[in-house]
């Protein structure tokens, strides 16, 4: 088994006296793995993701990134070495596409030539025309284009880890599918370790190497897409798998000779 790049060790997160958002979660993400975390809204999945780059600190337990407890790493330094794709894009509206992409390199003090070259490379990587897009502002982009820029920004400073918070949720199905496929290709080519949050089980099944299902702050199922499709589960996971299964059955019938 390869090294756990991200490890949650019995992590809980509680706000005041209310019921915990996360309740004793233990989970590992291995090197070059693409993990999807699936769960309904309020299940604690975004909290789980934010613990990794210290946008939130845990109440109990520890989070390790590449072996180190994140509490021992300066939050700003940590964030600069982890890519993050935000829910609903999160581009800076007063900066051009090029400036948005180059923001983390700029914070890291790269020189201008290196940043310009990097922006051009990344526009190619996310399949946006260099000339046409680099000086546009976020308001001049479609949803899909915006999220392509979001992905480019996340990987600009050459991180080994990318976190994605429902990255494709707000897009139309066609764009969403294309972007998902493109990201998976990038993940493989660049040798990234990716964690994606989604509430869409089908998306998780099609893109991820492994899926963790979270509900009420606990991991209720964990496994490869194949294992989840075929194994025995509790009621909630069975419900969650019902739709993709039915869709698969229908498609199989349709494509049968």
């Amino acid at each position: 088994m390869s090294l756990a790049v991200i490890a949650f060790e019995n992590v809980s997160k509680r706000y005041g006296g209310a019921a915990p958002v996360l309740d004793g979660v233990s989970l590992e993400v291995r090197e070059r793995e693409f993990l999807a975390i699936v769960g309904p809204s309020g299940s604690g999945k975004t909290t789980l993701l934010r613990l990794v780059n210290r946008l939130i600190d845990p109440t109990e337990g520890a989070v390790r990134v590449e072996g180190d407890d994140v509490q021992s790493i300066d939050a700003v330094t940590l964030r600069r070495r982890i890519g993050y794709v935000f829910q609903g894009v999160g581009l800076f509206p007063h900066m051009t596409v090029a400036e948005n992409i180059a923001i983390t390199p700029k914070l890291l003090g790269w020189d201008d030539a290196r940043m310009t070259a990097r922006v051009d490379t990344l526009l190619d990587v996310v399949r946006l025309d260099r000339q046409k897009y680099r000086d546009r502002f976020p308001t001049q982009l479609s949803g899909g284009e915006g999220q392509r820029v979001g992905v480019a920004r996340a990987i600009a400073a050459e991180p080994r880890i990318v976190l994605m918070d429902e990255p494709f949720g707000a897009l139309d199905p066609l764009t969403r599918d294309a972007l998902g496929e493109d990201y998976r290709r990038l993940h493989d080519e660049l040798g990234l370790t990716s964690v994606m949050i989604t509430h869409d089980m089908l998306e998780a099944l099609l893109l991820a190497d492994r899926i963790a299902v979270i509900r009420n702050g606990r991991i209720v199922a964990e496994g490869t897409p194949h294992a989840l499709m075929n194994g025995e589960q509790d009621d909630y996971v069975r419900d969650l798998m019902a739709t993709p299964r039915r869709q698969a059955e229908r498609l199989k019938k349709l494509s049968a000779p």
């Binding site: 780059n53 700003v76 964030r79 935000f86 509206p93 007063h94 914070l107």
Partner: protein, 516 residues
């Protein structure tokens, strides 16, 4: 061009210079305080609420009152400073105006900066942290640029408020475009009033548009626009200040209270000094207590006050004595208490007096205050903003047992016409006002001497009591003006026949020489 307009333009460099100096200083000071304060408050809700509450309360104080309040406050501080360190500072004019206007500029900047920063989408702020910005980088690279339009709107509002309110710094001794308005209102010179309003509005608009240019430049990141806007503001400021700064500073400052007779007398004194080869300026529109303190502190060198005013306001006397005795006692008191020199009476009285249209008085059979007492219950009276709060009014009421059906306050310039047109029955006017004759009013006798004498008297500041050149130049004015001459000059300066106080003063000097 009309002579009034010519004179208005001639005064523009001095007035605009004073206006720009005080408003630009206040704005810059206000911004250096408000902006950092707002940044600190943005992350501290408790401080934010306190700041906004205080700034809002300040805003509800009328700007004129705020300006007026700073004068006694600073005067107290200046006296304290003098005692503690042996060196005081000028509590008149520039300093109180700047402080009051600074306070006034703070609310829009504070409120808009805080609102603007709080209004930045929290998802964007989280993204800023997520890409690896520190709090400070998030503020400078993301939050401030995004809040910029709202912050600039606040700065522009503050600029317009301050430039507008700076016209009100005239009564506490700061030369500003308000000098046109206050002088114009008193002398019924509407050209001056309009000119002052238009000049203040034009200056405010120019500043607003240049700030707008900078704002657009900042948000579209056109450095040339920002530079052009900033340069424009700088040039405007320097351009307005250079004429006043390069002008040789006058040696003597002559004070004037905010009414026509004072403008004429200040102009007369200034002309006498120039004639004697001395340079002088006038500081017009100073309030009654402001002007006395200014003389005491040597911020003005000479002005004309009235014996009754000093008698009641400064000496706190309630007894009434004959004219000559009052002058003598007052002179001794001024010298003893304040080292102020009473050069002498000018020869006329400008006392408060109750007056009514002659025909009406005759019809009702009223000639004296005693006659009036029997009829007053069915009559209305109007006075200036001071009169009903003064001891004279108490004395008149107690001595004659007078009570009116209605009493109102009014800008003194409009009282006479109001009485002549029957809108009011009795006015508390001034004996030397030319409009008493103009509107055919009758001054009611005061047989029991309830109202103290109000001899016009020339006062010299402590630092000038041995200034022979000054004293020699002003000596010819002592006992030289009778009440008819003064009424004539006042009528000329306030009659709306295009005669400025300066021209009226020249006419008065001719009369003085003719009579001699």
């Amino acid at each position: 061009m009309s002579p009034q307009l010519t004179e208005a333009f001639a005064r523009l460099p001095a007035y605009l210079g004073g206006h720009v100096a005080v408003s630009v200083t206040a704005l810059l000071l206000g911004l250096t305080i408000s902006l950092p304060l707002a940044l600190i408050a943005t992350r501290r809700p408790a401080l934010r609420n306190v700041l906004l509450a205080v700034a809002s309360v300040v805003q509800t104080i009328p700007s004129l009152a705020l300006l007026a309040l700073f004068y006694p406050l600073l005067l107290g501080l200046a006296v304290l400073c003098e005692r503690l360190f042996g060196a005081g500072f000028s509590a008149l004019g520039f300093l109180p105006s700047v402080l009051a206007l600074t306070l006034y500029s703070m609310l829009p900047v504070l409120r808009n900066t805080i609102t603007g920063l709080n209004g930045v989408d929290s998802a964007i702020k989280e993204a800023a942290l997520g890409v690896g910005m520190t709090r400070r980088q998030s503020l400078t690279m993301v939050e401030l640029p995004l809040a910029l339009p709202v912050i600039m709107a606040g700065i522009r509002t503050a600029a317009i408020w301050v430039i507008g309110a700076a016209t009100l710094s005239t009564p506490i001794g700061q030369t500003s475009l308000g000098n046109y308005i206050f002088t114009g209102l008193q002398t019924q010179n509407w050209v001056f009033v309009l000119f002052g309003c238009a000049a203040a509005a034009a200056f405010a608009l120019a500043v607003d548009q240049l700030l707008a240019l900078m704002e657009v430049g900042l948000s579209r990141r056109k450095r040339a626009w920002v530079t052009a806007g900033g340069l424009g503001l700088l040039l405007l400021t320097i351009g307005a200040l250079v004429p006043t700064l390069s002008h040789p500073r006058a040696t003597y400052a002559i004070g004037a209270k905010p009414f026509t007779e004072q403008y004429v007398l200040a102009a007369l004194i200034e002309q006498r000094l120039r004639e004697a080869g001395l340079t002088a300026t006038t500081r017009e529109g100073l309030g009654s207590s402001v002007i006395f303190n200014a003389l005491r502190a040597g911020e003005i060198d000479a002005y004309v006050d009235y014996s009754g005013t000093i008698w009641t306001n400064q000496m706190h006397r309630t007894d009434v004595k004959p004219r000559a005795d009052v002058i003598t006692e007052m002179g001794a008191w001024l010298e003893r208490e304040h080292n102020i020199k009473l050069l002498g009476g000018l020869g006329f009285e400008n006392a408060y007096a109750l007056a009514m249209p002659k025909s009406r008085a005759e019809a009702l059979g009223i000639r004296t205050l005693a006659d009036l007492a029997g009829r007053a219950q069915r009559l209305s009276i109007v006075g200036d903003y001071e009169f009903f709060g003064r001891p004279e009014w108490d004395a008149v009421r107690k001595t004659y047992g007078i009570s009116f059906r209605e009493q109102r306050q009014m800008q003194s310039e409009f009282m006479y016409a109001a009485a002549a047109h029957g809108e009011v029955d009795v006015i508390a006017g001034y004996t030397s006002d030319g409009r008493i004759a103009q509107f055919d009013l009758m001054v009611l006798d005061d047989p029991r001497h309830a109202i103290p004498p109000y001899d016009a008297a020339l006062l010299i500041s402590p630092q000038r009591i041995n200034d022979e050149a000054l004293l020699a130049a002003l000596k010819p004015l002592v006992d030289a003006i009778d009440v008819t001459m003064m009424r004539g000059a006042n009528l000329r300066a306030s009659g709306g026949d295009n005669t400025s106080p300066r021209e009226a003063a020249r006419w008065l000097w001719n009369e003085i020489q003719r009579k001699r």
